[in-house]
Symmetry: C2
Subunit: 334 residues, 2 copies
């Protein structure tokens, strides 16, 4: 890894899906009727998107996309961010573009004609759990040429979402981005996103980890198990920690664990009155943690920032923050 020669001008640059979430409440019975995998994410094609949308109740459309949500949180906290992702030349593409720019995030990848902007049909059950069905549309066609390597070189952290490792073109773009970040001596943060992605690309992810390409890894306990092939939590931490400078494992309502340079810190989840919609919980946890990380805060402060941001986003519909995260963060940062 090269040493950085110039100070970064961006805090975090991320590559991810450019998605509009379509969020509707639904009874538990509908999840079963439709044969959906409760709490999970599955990829759907245009026909499935049509039939699932028909089965869905009245919805709200809110910009989403895992890494884009993380950037929305980071920017709301005060970080300088840029996003790389692909939208189509359509109304939902305009909505995504507006929302990310309105959040103060640089976003310059031109919209492309053809396949429409990605949509994620999200069914929220009465317990607040979300079941996601993603039509990737334009998002999966992010070309490697869309990467602005100088922007990547200018960011302290390159953040990558595993979801986008699945389609071929963005995977190539992400590999190119990893090289660009490494050449500039920047850090790489990564989330495998979801167990099904690990099922398909676990070998790639283990290789990235084993070859020291990942500086900060975010996963939940199930993803850690999928990555390592066993569900012994302590053994998993012991295996991964030596290979990753900063390892962060979330455990839902049980809180989170971070291990860095031999130091291990655990925190509980923030208390919350009512979980409305868990969409974006992991994304915003990553936002809070990364904000602390780029600002040089302690591991405990980073975890607490993560927990606070996750707690805010599950208190309302949608995966983008609504409350003033700076105010919330002040309770940790003083």
């Amino acid at each position: 890894m090269a040493q950085p020669t110039v100070p970064p001008t961006l805090d975090v640059i991320a590559i991810g899906n450019a998605i509009i979430d379509v969020i509707a409440n639904c009874p538990d019975s509908l999840i079963e009727e439709l044969g959906l995998s409760r709490g999970g994410m599955m990829l759907i094609d245009a026909d499935q998107a049509k039939s699932l949308y028909e089965a869905m109740g009245p919805a709200r459309e809110i910009s989403g996309g895992s890494a884009a949500n993380t950037l929305a949180g980071l920017a709301a906290l005060g970080a300088k961010c840029a996003f790389i992702g692909q939208v189509a030349e359509d109304q939902l593409g305009e909505v995504f573009t507006h929302d990310i720019r309105a959040g103060g995030i640089e976003f310059d990848v031109p919209a492309r004609a053809g396949t429409p902007t990605a949509r994620c049909l999200i069914f929220v059950t009465p317990d607040g759990q979300r079941t996601m069905n993603t039509f990737l549309g334009a998002s999966q066609h992010l070309p490697a040429e869309a990467l602005d390597e100088s922007a990547i070189a200018s960011a302290a952290v390159l953040y990558l979402e595993g979801y986008l490792w699945d389609p071929e073109e963005p995977r190539a773009a992400m590999r190119k981005a990893i090289d660009a970040a490494r050449a500039a001596g920047r850090k790489i943060a990564f989330t495998p996103s979801e167990c099904f992605v690990i099922d398909r690309h676990g070998a790639d992810f283990r290789d990235l980890i084993d070859t020291g390409k990942i500086d900060v890894l975010f996963c939940n306990e199930h993803e850690m198990a999928a990555l390592l092939g066993h569900d012994d939590f302590e053994k998993g931490i012991a295996e991964l920690a030596p290979k990753i400078p900063v390892l962060v494992v979330t455990r839902g309502a049980e809180g989170a664990v971070a291990v860095s340079q031999g130091q291990r810190v655990e925190i509980g989840a923030e208390p919350i009155e009512r979980v409305v919609d868990t969409t974006g919980a992991g994304d915003l946890f990553a936002a809070g943690f990364l904000y602390g990380h780029v600002r040089g805060k302690t591991l405990e402060q980073c975890l607490k920032l993560g927990a606070i941001c996750a707690c805010e986003v599950i208190s309302h519909y949608g995966a983008r923050p609504e409350a003033d995260l700076k105010v919330l963060a002040a309770t940790v940062l003083g």
Copy 2:
């Protein structure tokens, strides 16, 4: 007015704008900076829509439209409804169409090519007040031919929003609908929607009232003042009540008054913990009241249903109900 020869098969059919609301929080200062009329609604053209959208923070898109919101409430309460309005062949048109049908409302007007689906850019200040800026797009091109006169004849109540009286084509459609409803012996409910509409079309509205075309009139105290040319509340009620079988005047946080056949009932507003977004308060008040009306409830029950539905919709973003209105209504209806 003809006597109805067959019982209605629909409770309410409404003609209104087919709009997607684009809702963002904003500081009070932005309302001033942009020169917007706080708490009001103004019509904007495509250029203004573009520049206002650029000035707007990250937003959520939720189906709206005044009469359409009222139907969403009515249908959620259990009424059988149909909507007449114009969307374009675009993604926002698909969203509007999905949401209204998913709410159980009949909607069969074909989407039209050309001008995009209407959008209302809504700035919500920290006090929950909404300031609306409407780009009417396709909505103002509803042709009179889009009316299904047999559907109008089959509904107990024809509900019309004054907003749509402004553009020429829908105004002609609404006049045609009034005649169709009257010929079938059905009731007509009307809201002038907003003072600026009354400024332009007050003479038409007064003529509708004076010629006995309106059976149920919904307005707020400011609209009543604009309609009558003075702001003496009691004098206004005394002037209007003899001309309208059911007069309903809302007074924001001060509650509402209804007068029918010499009986006058007043209620206070429902207590609410926090007003999040007042968008749709009047629309959902009308929904609750009309539901009681078509079910033959007392004037007091009708008002309480209105207040409960209005209270629900201002407790969250967007003008469509989120909670189970049937459950809420049971507190009034037993």
